[in-house]
């Protein structure tokens, strides 16, 4: 079972401390591609939550059967099979939702967060904890990508909730800045995503440093990038 403390630690790690996008700097490829608006980023995160919970659970359950030497190919096999099964099940049983989330599910294959969490957490922890880890890593990704998407969209187009009509056909994007706003293309291009992501990382480090100072502790050492795209 899971203790309250364990649960809190997992949640805090996923949402803030080891946030995939602004602490671990993982999964940049889908991040750059989808965060041109908030809706896409959130949808990708929702699909990722489902896949991460499932793959973490599967790997944690099988972890004692997987020889250390071949763990990576086995993990990849499990993740790839699960992504495909999720894709098929969505298409068959939740067709309406599939039309919305469907294009994001194959993108998860390019997302190494899934493999990273399987390797770093699920391979060493029991199934329940691992499932929660998958979910909360996804939740951390959700708010980060949502915020990044919203900022890029607002700077780039002057709108919020672009693409919402894809999810709820009755809703329309809202023009927040005046119609005459000329747009700022850089924000919508991948370099803009990098720059804004950099600002978010700086903001997180600043918040952490402030918290550490308040606690009269040394600021935490900056987390090195895992070198994954």
């Amino acid at each position: 079972m899971i203790t309250r403390d364990e649960f809190n630690t997992i949640a805090a790690n996923g949402i803030w401390k080891q946030n995939t996008s602004i602490a671990q700097i993982l999964g940049l490829c889908p991040l750059l591609a989808t965060t041109t608006n908030a809706v896409n980023g959130i949808m990708l995160s929702l699909a990722t939550i489902i896949v991460m919970a499932m793959s973490n659970f599967a790997v944690a359950s099988l972890r004692n059967l997987i020889p250390h030497e071949i763990r990576i190919p086995v993990f990849i096999l499990i993740v790839a099979a699960l992504v495909t099964v999720v894709d098929l099940l969505f298409n068959a049983n939740l067709h309406e939702l599939y039309l919305v989330l469907g294009i994001f599910i194959p993108l998860i294959v390019t997302n190494c967060i899934v493999l990273a969490r399987v390797e770093a957490f699920a391979a060493k922890n029991p199934p329940l904890q691992s499932t929660f880890d998958g979910v909360f890593m996804g939740v951390g990704m959700l708010w980060t990508l949502g915020l990044l998407g919203a900022m890029r969209e607002l700077l780039g187009n002057g709108t919020v909730l672009g693409g919402i009509d894809m999810v709820f056909p009755s809703l329309q994007p809202i023009q927040l800045l005046p119609e005459s706003y000329p747009g700022f293309l850089l924000a919508l291009l991948p370099p803009g995503a990098f720059i804004l992501l950099g600002c978010m990382i700086a903001w997180k480090n600043w918040m952490d440093a402030k918290a550490a100072e308040r606690a009269r502790l040394k600021p935490p050492a900056p987390v090195a990038s895992a070198g994954c795209h």
């Binding site: 059967l65 997987i66 020889p67 190919p73 096999l77 099979a81 495909t84 098929l88 298409n91 068959a92």
Partner: protein, 220 residues
Amino acid sequence: MSAVKEFTAPGMAVRTAAILFIFVIIFTGLLSAAYLWTKPAIEASATEEKMKLVDEVLPRNEYDNDLLNDTFALEPTPELGLSEATTVYRARKAGQPVALVFEAVAPDGYAGKIRLIMSVRANGEVGGVRVTQHKETPGLGDYVEVKKDKNKARPWITQFTGMSLAQVTDKDWKVRKDGGKIDYYAGATVTPRAVTKATLKAARWAEANRDRLFAEGGAK
């Protein structure tokens, strides 16, 4: 794993390979099972999607055949603006030709091609036209798409329903600005003009090719 044995290097390799093999078998099996289990549902929803489009241009009570399986493979047809092969669906009632459902492209939209699906009845009447794909300016030319048309009671594109070459002359089959009788909203003429032109060409094409299209491949 009970008693920990010392493995020789080849023994270890064989053991590892065997375990990997077992994992591959299990997960391939899982994939195949999921594929086979979901296949009917996925095909059903793909059919449903297609039928939804067909229903927009041809009421279901007008025909009684399995239209999605009574098809004609159409070669690229410049008259319809199609540069690729497409499928024509043939609607019949009691074996008698009712209508053809086919795709067409208006190549000269304001922002490139406008893809249409339309039906033409055996008597030459247009059963209905719908835009399936376009890049026209949002809020200006995109009213050719029913979903974006502000006139919900009588969307612009429904004007073509019931028109036929026998009743409407080529001169009338134009937007008002060009001397025809097709209404359009002020501000965007290029888009409706392109769609109007494409429907006229398609109606002519259906008239000329109807017998060939219904005959070939045999009725089911």
